[in-house]
Amino acid sequence: MPRLLRRFLRNPGAVLGLALLLVLLLVAALGPALVGDPLEQNIGERLRPPGPAHPLGTDQLGRDVLARVVHGARISLGVGFGVVLLASALGVAVGLLAGGLGGFWDNLLMRLTDVFFAFPSLILAMAIAAALGPNLTNTVLAVALVTWPIYARLVRAQVLALREREFVEAARALGAGQGRILLKHLLPNSLTPVLVQASYEVGSAILTAAGLSFIGFGAQPPTPEWGAMVAETRNYMAEAPWAATAPAVAILLTVLAFNLLGDGLRDALDPRGR
């Protein structure tokens, strides 16, 4: 592992991604206690440009943009991690079963993932969010439901490749059962590509969720969710561009962090090292 870590840390992009992520986590953990109320309106102070009292200015209701962006960090990171945890749990289970059981079950489960792959994810997520009611929990459920197949395919491919390796044969020879081989030997060794993919997927889930909120199928105003904030303030681009730009840049930096992290992990784990 130290060699992996060294390789990872020698990559400036990866280090930048990691640093960005740490800052974001810190902001999400401690920030809300340090800034003001994200919901407090002050009509007299509306659309104020950035200044000492409001470092990122105020929005059309006189709310402090910095307070809203900082509170939004917790929401967006929560959504991103929530989606990836749910989707990867489901996907890994399906992939493990398909690869481990083989034959009919493999075929059935893989065709199921094909079907989910073919679905227009944003539209299905919209339909689910509309049916269950638009809120953040349902956004997480909806996005997880449309993103799990990618993990299933990854894990299945890993399991198929690993199944014939000597250490699995050795375990089998020692009398390990199918379940033990799956969970003890195949699962841990299949998780590397899942980790890389998961890093990208956190960013992508944050983008999708923000998009859903932007068109009204995710977090609802006045929740300080970044996508919803851009939607609320987009009509003030002319007189107060900071109000929509701040949450958008926050999304950009967060997604960038996870993309850099994913690239860094992939390059550190890929022995060909590009």
């Binding site: 065709r111 989910f116 932007f214 002319a238 950009l252």
Partner: protein
């Protein structure tokens, strides 16, 4: 080859069937009674009973699914609760606008992503490569809805370089509808003013929708080119003294294209469904805006109709890519 095609067609059919099953299932679990939704809250008891009998809603689920499939075969997707028209009619009206936008965005992605990826690979780890990688990373991380708002504000409102939302200047007479794609229809009608205006209206939304795909494509092309450029036969070609142009165009690109090709079907399919946000912001009268408005008013027949159409088109695109791939790479056919 025939066996492969048959097998692949069978898969596509299965996936199509799976899609119908899920759209049917989702329509079942939504907590909205279609009879009440269609007839209104104040409908009388016997009206509702009659509606249920007419649409088979009183039958067991499996029978209902059979009826649903039967209706699908006749291209009957039900009636939209919002527009009051058959969903199939609505789709026919709105699909061309989405196709026009998605194809334009696809073109943008190809025109930007392909050369950028090749260029980056040829100058690996030098300024052009770093520039392409940086831009790809930034574009791939930017929320598309903000890119749209920002570019509209800058290029339309502030600089007046490009037209704003919509497909055509309201003062221009729209060309007669043939394909439903305004730019193509204007071209067919020989109406140059309308053609130029329609193209100008396409630039921004097509760029916004295609930018993330361009970034993805640039990264894929770069990786594929690097792979190919490091191979022995390319070294031989260099040693023969061919120019960079000849090495790339005649020898490297062909082999780098194969792994990229598999991506293209999914990319175009993704653009069709990704159009939702872009269409909403640019008031583009396509499927994306239609499905957003339908979902807002809980018009599930319409939402499921769009889901089904986009899902099926996506599967067909992937089928096409797989068949093309098999045609180009004999290793697939005989595997």
């Amino acid at each position: 080859m025939a066996a492969y095609v048959l097998k692949r067609l069978g898969y596509a059919l299965l996936v199509g069937l799976g899609i119908t099953f899920i759209t049917f299932f989702v329509s079942q679990v939504i907590p909205i009674d279609p009879a009440v939704a269609a007839l209104g809250e104040n409908a009388r008891e016997e009206q509702i009973r009659e509606f249920r009998e007419r649409y088979g809603l009183d039958k067991p689920l499996l029978v209902q699914y059979g009826l649903y499939l039967q209706r699908l075969f006749r291209l009957d997707l039900g009636r939209s609760l919002r527009t009051g028209r058959p969903v199939a009619e609505d789709l026919k009206e709105f699909f061309p606008a989405t196709l026009e936008l998605a194809l334009s965005a696809f073109l943008v992605a190809l025109l930007l992503g392909l050369p950028a990826g090749v260029w980056a690979a040829l100058r690996q780890n030098r300024p052009p490569d770093l520039l392409v990688r940086l831009l790809a990373l930034l574009l791939g991380s930017t929320p598309v809805f903000f890119l749209a708002i920002l570019l509209l504000d800058l290029l339309h409102r502030r600089l007046g370089l490009l037209p704003g939302p919509g497909r055509l200047d309201p003062f221009l007479l729209p060309p007669p509808r043939v394909t439903g794609m305004v730019s193509l229809d204007a071209l067919l009608a020989g109406d140059w003013a309308a053609f130029r205006d329609a193209l100008a209206h396409l630039v921004l939304p097509a760029f916004v929708l295609g930018s993330a795909s361009a970034a993805l494509l640039a990264r894929m092309v770069r990786a594929a080119m690097l792979e190919v450029l490091s191979q022995d036969y390319i070294r031989t070609v260099w040693a023969k003294g061919l120019s960079e142009r000849q090495v790339v165009l005649r020898h490297a690109l062909k082999n780098a294209a194969l792994p990229v090709l598999t991506l293209l079907g999914g990319l175009l399919g993704g653009l069709l469904s990704g159009a939702v946000l872009t269409e909403t912001i640019f008031s583009w009268p396509g499927l994306g805006r239609y499905v957003t408005q339908s979902a807002t008013s809980l018009d599930f027949p319409a939402v499921m109709g769009v889901t089904l159409l986009v899902g099926v088109v996506y599967s067909l695109l992937n089928l096409l890519v797989d068949l093309l791939y098999a045609l180009l790479d004999p290793r697939i056919r005989y595997a």
